[in-house]
Structure formats: structure tokens, C-alpha cells
């Protein structure tokens, strides 16, 4: 494991990027480290890029920690190039980032300057002069090439540029010369701006704003149909759908529904939105009407062609019911039971929102073998209820004031508590299946040194 980033304090203590963690720890046993999370870093960079959209639409990522902005024609909006750079950096700094920036005619030059001379704005044609004193590392070449130049005594971009182009090409390839020329402002290379993520989206504009509920619903239905086509083409289905209503006066309203499994049937989608719109505590207000309605699948997943067989159909219907109920009442209110992997009876199941229930891979423990009585009751009491027991010839126990006499008894099933979860040791339970003289079956347990008895459930 190696360090991938160090803060100012760490740098001052002599740690550096690429240092083995063990060495760093040997120096500073109390060193705090966090696991690098590249996807998260990239996401953050993308978020900053999004924010930069406010300055220019041409923003490109320069990972791991750079952004390239093509501000051609945009600088005047901010009072000139220097002012624009200043403002951009200042606002990013305000957001808590450490920023270095530079502005030049080519991306490579700007990048090199940003690394070494923060805040530089190079007038057109001044690249060669500004870059000449910079170390060649500023060009971000591969380490082997950089090393070769350093070893040859060519340590600045100026020294590198002083060599013949043929000489360089013969040694390091055309790419290097291209990069160098680009840095010096002698060739052009446009940046490739970020593309929006592929998105499933359908929208309709209205010349005359729509007001009535019916039109809105039928619009959603037809949008659902076109969205469904796109989804089907990509073999995907939506797990989350969002309808966006743009009001003529500029306000925007987002309404989202979620589904338990990837869905793309237009009828289903339409129905879900109908449920949702009906149940809104704060109904949408068309005001002067909507001039644009957009339907987007904001989360899509692979969706295989519907399964076959009666079972599949039944499952599908249940899922649809769940989705409808969830759309109406909120997904946190439609629950289903999930098995939980533990020996402790009352913890062996949990209730989770039904739309997410699919995720569990665990199957229910078999509580009965073929031709045998179940080992555990299907349902347990909310909490075990104490019973008083007299053990004579037969087991007598009193539960809720009623005395039961055990006719048959099997056990014990001994279940020890999960020792690592409790502050103090919990007593081990001995469970018994008990049938009383009237044929009622109970699940009792006993715990503790001087036994205390509880009823935990009844068999149907």
C-alpha cells in the first residue's frame, strides 16, 4: 500500500506521494490514513466541472485533479481573462478547495503553468517565453521520458525546446514533439468537453400551456410510451422515474416514483404516476399551465425479457402491486419480511421496504422437514412473555392467568446469545416445543441459573 495523496502537514513531515504506507507508519506511528477512493474523487471532480459550466460550456476533465476550460469568447463576460481566472479560482477556494490556475492559448501550456506558476495569464504568442524556465515535469510526460531528459541535462522546457525536432522525434516519438509544440502554442488541439451521461428522457413542449389533469396524464402516458421504446432498445428498465413539469412562469416541479424491479411497460409507468399524483399531499398546481413536460428514467438497470411461467407472472403482479402501493403511500410504508442470518429467533427476520426486498440472497431457514412438525412457530410474540412453571410429574405453566399442562414436550433446542453484541453475557436459552393437554402447541424457553420461563410463540 502506498500513499496516494498527502496534506500540507504530512508533506512538511517528509511524507510523499508514492511512499509505502509501512515506511510512513514507521516514521509516524500515529499517522491517520484514509483509503483512497478514486471513483469518489472523480465524482467530486465532475461536480466541480458541473459548477464550472457557469463560466463556459466547454469544460473537460483532466483527471485525477485537473479541469480544462475553454474560455474562448467567454472572458469578456467576466471582465477580461485575468479577472475571470481570479474569480473562478477565488470562488473555488471559497468552497474549500486548493486551486491553482493559469490561462494560455493551449491546454498543455495552461496546464503546465497552472502546476508551476499559479495565476499566470499568458498573452497569445507568449507561451514559449513563459514556459521556457519551467521544469520539464510540468509537461506531465511519462516518468521514463522525463527521467531521460533530466539525465541528459535538459531540465527545463526551454532546454527541451532548444533541441531539434527531428532529434526529439527520433528518440521519443512524434507524440512528444506534438505535446511540446502544443505547449509552446505552436499547434492547436481542441479540448474534448464532457458529454452528458446517456440518459433516457422524453419530453413534450406545448405551444399552448396545458392545464387540465387529463391532458397531463395522457401526456405522461404518451411520454412513457416513447421512453419505453428507448429503454427497450437498450435492454434496460427504469428503477426510478422522474416527471418534470415546467410552468410557463418559470417554476419547475419534480415528481419521482420508484419501482421494485426494472420497469418499462408504458401502462405501468402511467399508472404509477397516476397513483403518485393522486396521493400528493401538495398537489401540483398548473397555474398558468405547463409549457414543457419531461419524463426521464433517472435510474435504469439491465432488464431481461420477462420470465415465463405462472410463477413469474404471479411474482410480477405482486411487484406491480407493491409499486402501486408504494407510489401512493410511500415506499417506506410498504414492507416485507426478509430472512436474517442468525440463530436468535426474534432476530431471524427483519421488515424492509418491499421495493428493495429483492436484493437479499439469503433463503429462509427450513423450519420443517418433510413429514415433520415445524421446529419453530411461523410467528412469534412481539416479545417473549414470562410464564410461571411448576415442574412436577408433568410440566405445568401459567400464561396470561391460564394454566396449561404439558402433555408432550420436546427439546431442548439450545441457543446461545450472540456474545459479541452484548455488554454483559446474556443467558443461553433452552427452547421446548410443548403440547398441552388440549392439543395447543407452544414454544417455551427457559434461561438462567435459576430458570426463568418464557413463552415465545405458538404453533398454528
Amino acid at each position: 500500500m502506498r500513499l496516494t495523496a498527502v496534506d500540507r502537514k504530512a508533506t512538511s513531515l517528509g511524507l510523499y506521494v508514492g511512499q509505502p504506507l509501512a515506511n510512513a507508519r514507521a516514521m509516524l506511528p500515529a499517522l491517520k490514513v484514509m483509503a483512497a477512493n478514486e471513483p469518489a474523487d472523480l465524482k467530486l471532480l465532475e461536480r466541480i466541472a458541473d459548477w464550472c459550466d457557469g463560466f463556459t460550456p466547454f469544460v473537460a476533465l483532466d483527471p485525477p485533479r485537473g479541469l480544462l476550460l475553454d474560455v474562448t469568447g467567454a472572458a469578456h463576460l467576466f471582465g477580461g481573462e485575468q479577472a475571470m481566472l481570479g474569480r473562478l479560482c477565488a470562488s473555488l477556494q471559497k468552497q474549500g478547495f486548493k486551486v491553482r490556475g493559469a490561462l494560455a492559448s493551449t491546454a498543455t501550456a495552461a496546464r503546465a503553468l497552472a502546476r508551476c506558476q499559479d495565476g499566470t495569464v499568458v498573452p497569445p504568442g507568449g507561451e514559449a517565453a513563459s514556459l521556457a524556465p519551467l521544469p520539464i515535469e510540468a509537461l506531465n510526460l511519462d516518468p521514463v521520458t522525463t527521467h531521460a531528459f533530466r539525465r541528459a541535462g535538459l531540465k527545463t522546457i526551454g532546454q527541451m525546446a532548444s533541441r531539434g525536432r527531428a532529434e526529439l522525434t527520433a528518440r521519443f516519438g512524434a507524440q512528444l514533439v506534438f505535446t511540446l509544440d502544443h505547449a509552446l502554442g505552436q499547434t492547436e488541439k481542441p479540448i474534448s468537453p464532457r458529454l452528458p451521461l446517456p440518459d433516457y428522457c422524453a419530453e413534450r413542449r406545448f405551444a399552448e400551456p396545458v392545464v387540465t389533469q387529463d391532458t397531463i396524464l395522457s401526456t405522461l402516458a404518451s411520454l412513457a410510451a416513447s421512453l419505453s421504446e428507448v429503454l427497450e432498445r437498450h435492454g434496460e428498465g427504469a428503477r426510478r422515474l422522474e416527471a418534470v413539469f415546467f410552468r410557463a412562469d418559470g417554476t419547475v416541479r419534480h415528481i419521482a416514483v420508484e419501482t421494485g424491479s426494472p420497469t418499462r411497460e408504458p401502462a405501468v409507468i402511467a399508472l404509477l404516476f397516476r397513483e403518485k399524483l393522486d396521493a400528493l399531499a401538495d398537489p401540483i398546481d398548473p397555474g398558468f399551465g405547463f409549457d414543457l413536460i419531461r419524463l426521464a428514467a433517472s435510474r435504469a438497470e439491465r432488464c431481461d425479457a420477462a420470465g415465463f411461467g405462472a410463477d413469474a407472472k404471479e411474482k410480477k403482479e405482486i411487484r406491480f402491486l407493491v409499486d402501486r402501493l408504494a407510489a401512493r403511500f410511500g415506499s417506506h410504508r410498504i414492507l416485507s419480511f426478509q430472512p436474517n442470518d442468525t440463530h436468535i429467533p426474534e432476530a431471524a427476520f427483519v421488515a424492509v421496504p418491499a421495493q428493495y426486498a429483492e436484493a437479499s440472497k439469503l433463503s429462509w431457514e427450513k423450519i420443517r422437514e418433510a413429514r415433520e412438525a415445524p421446529r419453530r412457530p411461523l410467528r412469534l410474540l412481539a416479545s417473549p412473555e414470562p410464564v410461571t412453571v411448576q415442574q412436577g410429574e408433568k410440566l405445568h405453566f401459567r400464561w396470561r392467568h391460564v394454566l396449561h399442562v404439558a402433555a408432550h414436550l420436546e427439546g431442548p433446542e439450545r441457543i446461545a446469545m450472540e456474545w459479541w453484541r452484548h455488554q454483559t453475557p446474556q443467558p443461553t436459552r433452552d427452547y421446548f416445543r410443548v403440547e398441552d393437554e388440549e392439543g395447543r402447541r407452544f414454544w417455551l424457553y427457559r434461561e438462567g441459573e435459576t430458570p426463568r420461563w418464557f413463552l415465545h410463540g405458538m404453533f398454528a
Binding site: 508551476c116 521544469p135 531521460a148 535538459l154 531540465k155 532546454q159 516519438g173 420436546e410 441457543i415 446461545a416
Partner: protein, 1111 residues
């Protein structure tokens, strides 16, 4: 003892079923004895690895004890339910071993793949207990692999392994068990049982009824077990933890992988009786089962291989003949009387003990090496006998040193003698393969090493199980830096800035403490060979090691000791390689034929050199501590060297015996012998033990002898003491020994203080003890290497470099030392260098030509190609490219290392030219741009390379520079700060204050005291820095992280002239090294600009070689 119920537990899993059982075999056996069991059977999963431990524990129980049964739980890969197999007699035991070996050989290391077919083939004489799987619980069989059956094709008659059937419901199991029982009964009638346990699952009784029916139907007896995983219910927690480690889950996610309750422990017989109240016969059956077993590990009779003995002779006769023959060769002028007497005596003793075959076997192995011209030398308790000398096993002349042979071969204990043989480390493999070729893989195998959980691994694994983040675990683990074997203590937890009272951490630490010492897996021993006359794989299962063509048994050296089997250690020693290479060089260049025994003895020049601590590269005495000792001890004869080697060891140091010895040696103190009170014994009883070392015990056996003579230990007790020390097994025993030793000595009138020092010394010997014989063998190698260094410094340095990595010093120090001794060292050159370092004739002797192997990153294959096409010489870089067609990368490395000096002197121009060459490996990127023949180029000159940059580049490529020392370029800077050179430090007066800066060569933290020794180097020499623990804490970062370190402190000069700089402050000045690469023009360094975000070339990161650190 409880009740009258007789019960034997047969399904016992120990922690040698790795990560399944949660108790040591010892705990299980002792608990069984306490409960009054009739018998206890150890049956680990497809292994016999733990049985000897159980046997040893069983032997130690003095009261009435249960019968110990040896077996294995066979876990099949083909879905067959587990079967416990217990051999009824020795032959059946042999078959069980063969079967397990078969299973191990077809699987990768550490696994064992068995099918029912294997059992059917080897079942004769095995008592079999079918263990129905517990419902809902998996057996943990590895997923079926088709390749398993590939091995089967080669095995004659082995049953094929079928993939397990997927169905796994109770009913199917039920039928499967029935048919399995039927099959077994038809093949092994009267030897099949059905094992049942009562795991408290609720339906226990019903299941018991069912199995009773099945058993009755098949007319096999039902056998009660508790399917034991640990000795006492308290171990449930640890069992849960090891389950989680095994399954790679955290406790919170483990769920039903864990056992539901804590019932799988050894229960008192009457409790078992209660559980099986409805099937009392199942209990009675356990005892009947145990009664049918007539096998015990005591019956394993080890026999020596008889290959070396020619027909018609006894081993003893043959050994005697060989010995006298050898004596005649060793002493051409006639065997001296002293040796003759020793030989006669030793041979008589060997005859009495009937261990002649052992000596012959070692002689045989040494013979292989001799025929292949591989240097070797024996050591170990029996090695320094006259017999070993005349047989050529050792080179220590019995005339030179007298060792009492019978002291090491104890007549009473009938223990086999111990001889380790060191071979050249690069060629040991040849010897090993020779052994296999001669004895066969079924008769020769390496011993195992049981890899146990150490504090660090234990806390790392348990931390994961408890869901502690890696950060916390690392903090906990780093708290135990370097401390082995002892438990994690609260202090260490605190050191990691963690709260030991945090419940989670406390539990993790508790579990980790319990886990320490648990076996984790088996690994091959470094070189301990077990050889037998009969099949070894009928004594113990043999399996493949991770290394190809290596096989090892399931028992480690303690187990082998317990069973009194013989082991020969075939070890690798780097110094022998070095000496061999030096001998070869001397033969080529000076025409001298040399061998270990032939080096001129007692050469005063060699001792003069050693007295001046001029010992870089000399075996055993080159370490910092040894170099400090040399001028104090001033060795003048061989025995002084023996003492020198033994004295700088934890034993004498911890026992505070070093200074008394030195004082007596220099005549500052009277030599006297501690004596008991007159009524207890003669005042000179210790004279015999200690007279060779001026009354101070220095060697391990002296300390043992002391225990016998002064504290009246029996030889067995003394040996037990040594063993208790060697493996800090349990604190209780050690304290008992301490009381006995100290108490025994003071009771007899010795001083308390002296007695305690003796004990501390024995404690120190524990893990790193050096017996005298051992020290003598090492001292001999030290003398030989010192002799070569003194008389053939070029050959010595060359051989030392070619034998790297070894020893304490990096190539830079070896080269510097050679140059200080007048050896001319020449730079690597494509036209003159070979892969190895070589010698070239020069004015006034031989010069050392650095070899291509010194260049970092250069491969041996490239060197071979380069040399093959060199014919006469290369005239130009293009010449090499054209003729040798090396990859461009290789040429760049050569150019960077400045190895084209014979072609052109300008390093940069060559490098620039090399970059232009096309790559014979044809990287697509470069393909199009080059043509085979290149136009000559006219180029502007490149900037001139400054000397400092040259030196830096040399260090980066070769880890040394012949041009200058890096520190020279910084000298002005440091002088300006008032920092003196290492040379100044050596001359400074005692008590002076000084600051010194240098490249960190080595960092050492010997023992647990926490003192750090640092060696700094600059252009004037080296300086020794001592950092006391308190300071280590403050300056840890500087001490551990610096490459260039500045130390301020006080000079400490000993009367013998050994100088230390005792650190008071340490500063990391590594950054100064960056100045060296800056040009005068001053391109700003990237790091200062970009705050460390630039990716640096690895060579630039490692500006200078990493120091060698020993902890």
C-alpha cells in the same frame, strides 16, 4: 474424577484442523484426563499434524490417564459423509498415513483430496465411524475440481473421485448414510460404527431414534460422541472467531455459519450418559471401540537408513574404518595421540549408543556435496567431534579445541545426536535433490514448521472479525513492533492511541491473545531432513510444499524430538557461497587450491587485522556489536574467536557476563570460581565447567552444566529447562525452573545475585543460544573469511559482492572497504564486465572489475547475450544494438550506469544516442519512426554533467559510486553549519559534543530494549550513533525515515578506542540530496513547486539506496 460411567470421546477436533478446532491438543488431553475419560481419540481433518502434541501432553500426565487414540477425520471431496478412521495396529496406521499422503499429493499444498475409493483401498485394519452430517451445516468440502482425477490416472488402483451429488436434504442424507454403511460393512465387517451426537438442536431424541433404527438394520453399533471442537465451553467465543477467520466474514455477518450454542466441548462422562440415556449402549460402545485399538505412537520405531553401509559390514565397523582412513588423510604425518584417544573414545560411545548409521548418513550427504564441489560444514551438538573432523563433516581440528563429545551426546536420554550441515546457499538445492534421488521421496522428506499466530497476525485477523477498521488493527498491531510470542498488553493497546476498555477492542484483544500460539498452517522447515530405512510415508503423511519438488511431513522438529526420530539439517549459508567463490577466484588468478580445512591456521596477521576491528564482510564478526567487541577482546588464537562469536549474543549479554569476562581477560579482575558452602560440595565444583572461559559462563552448555552442578538439576531437567526457554511455551514452567535454579543454587550457598544472573543468561540463550561446538564451527568460518580478506582482499571483495545479498553491508561499503585495502576497483563496462564481478590483473596485483549484476534492473539474460556477441569488443553503441539486439531498455540502463566508458567517455552523449536506437523488442509506438541504418546526426552539445550529478546517477544505478561520496558535495554546506565529518568523530575526545551528518547505512534495534544503533557514512568513513529509547520516541520519524541524517550528541570513547556518538537530537536532512541534481543554471526542483503532486520516476524517489535495517 467423576462417577462410574466409562466413556471415550472419539470425535475430537483440535486446532490442527486449522481454523476449526479451538483448543490445543494439550488442553483436550488434559481435560479428558480431568474428566476421567477412558480414552480420547484425536481425529483432525485429513491430518495427523496434531497427534504428536497430544501424545507429548499425554506422556506428561503423571496420574491415571485416558488411553490416547490416534486417528483422523476423513473429509471427502466426493460428498461422502465424514468418517473417523482409527488404526487398530501399527500396520493400519501405516495405511492411514499412506492414504493421507495420497490425498495430499494430488492436491495443492495444505489440502488433501480424498474419495471414498481411497478409503476402500486402504481400509484394512482401520476402525471406521461414520459421522452423519449435522442437518443444516455444511462440511466445508472444497468445491470439486476435475483436475483431481488427472492425478488419479497415474496412481494405480486408486478409486476415482466422483463429484458430490447436489441434493442435500435430510432424507437423501439418510439414505446415503444407509448405503454407505452397507458398503463399508461388506468390505470391513465388524469395523464400522455409526457415530451420533446430541447437539441440542431440539429434535435430538428423534434423530437418535432414527439412527438407532438405521444402525440396527445394518447391524452396526451406534457410537456416542460429542463431536468436540474445544475442550471447555468458554472456548465458544474463540471458535466463533476462528470460524469467521476461516470464512472471511465479520462476526456480525457470520450468522448461522457459527454454532448455535456452546455444547461441542468435552463433557463429563455422566453428562454424556444423561444425554444418551435412551441409548446407553452407544456410551458403552465407545469403550469397546477404544479397547480394540492396540496402537500408540510409542510403537513407531524409527530406523536409520542403511544405504551408506556396504554389504557384509555393520554400520559400526564401516564407521570405524572410515574414521581411521579419514584420520590418516587428515594427519599425513601420523595421527596425534590426543586425536587417537579421542577417536577411540568417541567410536566406543557411538557403538554403545548404536548411532553409527546417523554419522554415516551425514557423511553420505556431505559426500554428495564434496563430489559436486560444494562447500559445506557441519555444526550442532555432535558436530565438533574428532569423528566428524576425520570424516570431513567439519573443519575444526580437534587438536585446536577440545570438546567433550559425551557432553553433547547424552547417554541416558538415548536422544539422537544433532548435526546441522551448512551448504553454499546457491547450491543447496542440488544437495537436496541428491538426497531425494538417493533415498526416494517416500523415505526422505523435510520436516514441517508449524506457523503459529503471532501477536501481529492474531490481532490483524481478529480485528477484521470484530469489524475493526484496518486503521485500528494496524495501530494495534504496530504496538507490538518486534515483540514475539508475548501477549498484547494494555500498554501496547494504549501505544496505538486506543482505549483498552472499549468493549470491542477489549474483546478483539482478548480473542487475539487466546489465538496467539494457535497453529495457522504448516510450512516446510528450512532444511531439516527426515530420512528412514522403511517407508517414511507409513510413519507420517507427506505432502507437497509450495516450492516445486519439495515435500514435507506433517510434524515439526519438536514432534520429531518427541518421537526420537532423526533429522539432518541441510541448511544454506551465504558465507560458504562467498568462500567458495573466493577460493575459485584464488585458484584462477593465483593458482592456489584451497579448502576449508586447508587454510593456514593461527596466522598472526589475521588476528592483527581483527584486533583493529577491520572486519567488514568477515563472517559473524562484522556486525556493529562484534566490531565494538573485537578491540576489547583482542583475539589472538582460535579459541578467542570462538568466544568472540559466542559472547555477543543475548545470553551472555542478558546474564551480564560480558564485562566480567573482559575484565578478567585484561587482568583487571581476579579469576575465581563461585563456590557453594563447604558443607554442600567442593569449592572447585565449577572449575571443571568454567575454567576454559575464565570462570564466566559464556556457552549454552556451560549454563546447562551449571544448573546440573550448582543447582543439582538432573540432566533431563536441564534439558527440559533449555527447551522451556527455546519456546516460550508457558510462563508457569519457566517460573518453576527459575525457582528451582535460583533456589537450588542459593540453598547450596551461592550468592543470590550470581544465581539470578545465571538464570537470566539461560533465558537469553533460549532462542538464540550458541553452544560451544556451534560457535567453534562459526568461528572457523570467521577465521577463514578473515584470512581471505587479509591476504586476498580483491578476491574477497569480489566474492562477497557476487554472493549478495548477504551479511550486513551493502555493496557500497564492501567496495569502499576494498579500496581502503588498496584494491583497485574498476567501473562496469560493456567491453570488460561479466555478469559477476571479476578480477583483472593490474599493476601490483589484481583489480576488481564490477560486474553487470551490480547494475540495478539489468537482467542476467541480457548479460549473457551481451557477452555472447562481444567477441573481441564493441566499438560503438550501434554496434551493440546491431550485434546483440538487446532491448532498448537494457541499453538505456547500461548507458545510465555509464558502462560505455571504453567506447566514449561522455555519459550524456551516449545516453542521448541510445535513446535514438530502435528497440529490438519492437514496441509498436516506436516502430515506424526508425530505420535500421540511421543517418549520422549533428547535434548541439548537451549541458555538461556535473560531478555531483554523476555520483548521484551512479548511486541510482549501482548503489555505489567510484567517483566520490555524495557527502563531499554537501561538505561545504554542513561545514558552514559546524557539522563535522565521520572521520572527525572517530578522532574526537571522550565527552565532547559534536554534530555529524551522513548517509544512513544501517539501522538496528537489537532485542526489546528499544535502543537504536545507526551507522552513518560519509567520504571520510563511518560513524556509529547510539539512540537511547527515550530519544527514539521523540525522533522516531527522523530515525526511521531519513536517508541523510544529522545527529547532534556527545562523544563516548571507550578505553579500547571504540567511539560512539550518543544522539541528543536528530534531524532529517534528506532534502539536501536534491541539491546534487540541480544544475548550476538552476532549474527549479519540481517538488518545491508542486507540493508533491508530481509522479516521480522510481529512480528519483530512491535517490540513494535504502539503508539495511534489522529489527
Amino acid at each position: 474424577m467423576s462417577g462410574t460411567v466409562a466413556y471415550a470421546e472419539l470425535a475430537v477436533t483440535t486446532n490442527y484442523s486449522f481454523l476449526r478446532g479451538a483448543s490445543h491438543p494439550r488442553e483436550l488431553v488434559e481435560t479428558a484426563a480431568r474428566h476421567g475419560y477412558a480414552a480420547i481419540g484425536i481425529a483432525d481433518r485429513n491430518t495427523l499434524a496434531g497427534v504428536v502434541r497430544a501424545h507429548a501432553a499425554w506422556q506428561e500426565i503423571e496420574d491415571e490417564k485416558p488411553k490416547l487414540l490416534i486417528g483422523a477425520r476423513l473429509v471427502f471431496a466426493d460428498g461422502t459423509p465424514d468418517i473417523l478412521a482409527y488404526p487398530a495396529d501399527k500396520a493400519a496406521y501405516g495405511r492411514l498415513c499412506r492414504m493421507l499422503s495420497t490425498g495430499k499429493l494430488r492436491a495443492p499444498k495444505g489440502e488433501c483430496v480424498l474419495g471414498l475409493g481411497d478409503l476402500l483401498r486402504w481400509q484394512e485394519g482401520l476402525l471406521l465411524v461414520v459421522m452423519p452430517p449435522q442437518p443444516g451445516r455444511t462440511q466445508g468440502v472444497p468445491p470439486f475440481k476435475k483436475t483431481w482425477n488427472n492425478y488419479l490416472a497415474e496412481e494405480e488402483g486408486g478409486g476415482g473421485i466422483q463429484p458430490p451429488k447436489p441434493e442435500n436434504n435430510l432424507r437423501a442424507n439418510f439414505e446415503e448414510i444407509q448405503s454407505l454403511i452397507r458398503k463399508l460393512v461388506s468390505i470391513a465387517p465388524g469395523r464400522v460404527w455409526l457415530g451420533v451426537s446430541m447437539p441440542h438442536r431440539g429434535d435430538d431424541l428423534r434423530r437418535l431414534c432414527k439412527w438407532q433404527r438405521v444402525a440396527r438394520a445394518a447391524s452396526v453399533p451406534l457410537l456416542a460422541t460429542n463431536d468436540v471442537l474445544y475442550h471447555a465451553p468458554e472456548r465458544r467465543a474463540l471458535q466463533d472467531v476462528v470460524t469467521c477467520i476461516r470464512e472471511h466474514v465479520a462476526l456480525n455477518d457470520a450468522g448461522r455459519l457459527l454454532e448455535a450454542n456452546a455444547e461441542r466441548h468435552l463433557k463429563p462422562p455422566d453428562e454424556m450418559m444423561k444425554l444418551f440415556a435412551s441409548a446407553p449402549d452407544a456410551i458403552a460402545q465407545t469403550v469397546r471401540f477404544a479397547d480394540r485399538i492396540a496402537f500408540s505412537l510409542d510403537q513407531l520405531e524409527y530406523n536409520y537408513p542403511d544405504e551408506p553401509v556396504p554389504p557384509g559390514k555393520t554400520a559400526q565397523q564401516h564407521l570405524e574404518d572410515l574414521s581411521w582412513e579419514g584420520a590418516a588423510t587428515r594427519y599425513p604425518g601420523g595421527v596425534p595421540d590426543k586425536v587417537r584417544a579421542a577417536l577411540t573414545k568417541e567410536l566406543r560411545l557411538i557403538g554403545e549408543m548404536r548411532i553409527a548409521p546417523y554419522f554415516l548418513t551425514v557423511h553420505d550427504i556431505v559426500g554428495f556435496a564434496r563430489r559436486r564441489n560444494i562447500l559445506c560444514q557441519g555444526r550442532g551438538s555432535a558436530a565438533n567431534s574428532a569423528v566428524c573432523y576425520v570424516l570431513g563433516i567439519t573443519a575444526v581440528d580437534p587438536m585446536q579445541i577440545d570438546l567433550l563429545f559425551e557432553r553433547f551426546v547424552s547417554r541416558e536420554r538415548k536422544e539422537p545426536p544433532d548435526i546441522d550441515v551448512d551448504f553454499e546457499h546457491e547450491r543447496r538445492e542440488e544437495v537436496i535433490q541428491d538426497i531425494y534421488a538417493r533415498y526416494g521421496r517416500h523415505r526422505a522428506a523435510l520436516a514441517a514448521t508449524v506457523i503459529c499466530y503471532r501477536p501481529r497476525s492474531a490481532i490483524r485477523e481478529t480485528g477484521k472479525v470484530f469489524g475493526l477498521t484496518e486503521d485500528v488493527t494496524v495501530a494495534l498491531a504496530s504496538g507490538v513492533w518486534g515483540s514475539w510470542g508475548s501477549a498484547l498488553k494494555e500498554r501496547e493497546v494504549r501505544q496505538g492511541h486506543l482505549d483498552p476498555y472499549n468493549l470491542l477492542i477489549a474483546r478483539a484483544v482478548t480473542a487475539a491473545n487466546e489465538l496467539i500460539g494457535f497453529p495457522r498452517h504448516l510450512s516446510q522447515h528450512v532444511g531439516g531432513f527426515v530420512l528412514t530405512r522403511d517407508r517414511l510415508d507409513e510413519i507420517v503423511p507427506i505432502g507437497p510444499a509450495a516450492m516445486e519438488d519439495r515435500y514435507f511431513i506433517e510434524w515439526d522438529k519438536d514432534d520429531i524430538d518427541t518421537l526420537r526420530m532423526m533429522k539432518v539439517d541441510v541448511l544454506a549459508l551465504g558465507m560458504l557461497t562467498c568462500i567458495r567463490k573466493a577460493f575459485d577466484l584464488m585458484a584462477v588468478h593465483s593458482g592456489m587450491k584451497m579448502d576449508l580445512a586447508g587454510v593456514p591456521r593461527e596466522d598472526p596477521a589475521v588476528y592483527d587485522m581483527l584486533c583493529q576491528a577491520d572486519a567488514v564482510g568477515v563472517f559473524q564478526v562484522e556486525s556493529r556489536a562484534q566490531m565494538n567487541m573485537l578491540p576489547r577482546l583482542r583475539p589472538r588464537e582460535f579459541y578467542d574467536l570462538v568466544i568472540e562469536v559466542a559472547i555477543v549474543r543475548p545470553g551472555p549479554i542478558q546474564g551480564d557476563m560480558v564485562h566480567p569476562y573482559l575484565r578478567r581477560r585484561s587482568g583487571q579482575e581476579k579469576i575465581d570460581y563461585p563456590a557453594p558452602s563447604p558443607q554442600h560440595g567442593p569449592p572447585d565444583e565449577l572449575y571443571q565447567v568454567l575454567n576454559k572461559t575464565m570462570g564466566v559462563p559464556l556457552f549454552q552448555e556451560q549454563a546447562m552444566k551449571l544448573a546440573i552442578v550448582a543447582a543439582k538439576f538432573t540432566p533431563e531437567e536441564a534439558n527440559g529447562l533449555r527447551r522451556a526457554m527455546a519456546t516460550f511455551r508457558n510462563v508457569g514452567t519457566i517460573n518453576r525452573f527459575k525457582e528451582k535454579l535460583v533456589g537450588g543454587m542459593t540453598a547450596r550457598g551461592y550468592e543470590q545475585d550470581y544465581a539470578e544472573r545465571c538464570f537470566r543468561q539461560i533465558e537469553g540463550f533460549g532462542s538464540y543460544g550458541f553452544p560451544e561446538s556451534h560457535a567453534a564451527s562459526f568461528a572457523h568460518l570467521a577465521y577463514v573469511s578473515a584470512w581471505i580478506k587479509r591476504h586476498h582482499p580483491a578476491a574477497f571483495a569480489c566474492a562477497l559482492l557476487n554472493a549478495q545479498p548477504m551479511g550486513f553491508y551493502a555493496p557500497a561499503e564492501i567496495v569502499r572497504d576494498a579500496r581502503e585495502h588498496g584494491v583497485e576497483v574498476r567501473h562496469v563496462d560493456v567491453n570488460f564486465s561479466a555478469w559477476d564481478n571479476t578480477l583483472e590483473p593490474c599493476e601490483g596485483g589484481l583489480a576488481l572489475r564490477l560486474g553487470l549484476r551490480q547494475i540495478d534492473g539489468f537482467k542476467e539474460d541480457w548479460a549473457t547475450i551481451l557477452l555472447a556477441h562481444r567477441s573481441n569488443r564493441y566499438d560503438a553503441v550501434e554496434d551493440i544494438a546491431r550485434r546483440a539486439r538487446l532491448p532498448k531498455r537494457a541499453l538505456v540502463i547500461l548507458a545510465e550506469a555509464d558502462s560505455f566508458q571504453s567506447i566514449s567517455i561522455d555519459r550524456r552523449e551516449i545516453l542521448w544516442a541510445v535513446h535514438r536506437l530502435s528497440d529490438s523488442e519492437g514496441l509498436p509506438l516506436f516502430d515506424a519512426q526508425y530505420v535500421e541504418v540511421q543517418e549520422p546526426e549533428i547535434l548541439a552539445p548537451l549541458p555538461v554533467m556535473r560531478l555531483s550529478e554523476h555520483v548521484l546517477a551512479d548511486y541510482q544505478m549501482l548503489r555505489l559510486s567510484l567517483r566520490a561520496h555524495l557527502m563531499e558535495f554537501l561538505r561545504d554546506l554542513f561545514r558552514g553549519e559546524g557539522v563535522v565529518s565521520c572521520g572527525d568523530i572517530t578522532r574526537a575526545p571522550d565527552g565532547a559534543r559534536a554534530a555529524c551528518a551522513g548517509i544512513v547505512l544501517t539501522r538496528q534495534m537489537p532485542g526489546e530494549a528499544g535502543v537504536v544503533f545507526i551507522t552513518l557514512s560519509d567520504e571520510t568513513g563511518i560513524a556509529n550513533v547510539v539512540v537511547w529509547p527515550r530519544l527514539v520516541k521523540t525522533f522516531r520519524r527522523e530515525i526511521m525515515g531519513s536517508r541523510l541524517l544529522l545527529v547532534e550528541g556527545k562523544i563516548q570513547r571507550s578505553p579500547e578506542g571504540v567511539v560512539h556518538l550518543v544522539a541528543e537530537r536528530a534531524l532529517d536532512r534528506t532534502n539536501e540530496l536534491e541539491r546534487l541534481s540541480e544544475d548550476a543554471a538552476g532549474a527549479p526542483s519540481m517538488r518545491s513547486l508542486a507540493g508533491g503532486h508530481i509522479h516521480r520516476h522510481p529512480r528519483n524517489v530512491r535517490v540513494i539506496p535504502k539503508s539495511r535495517d534489522f529489527h
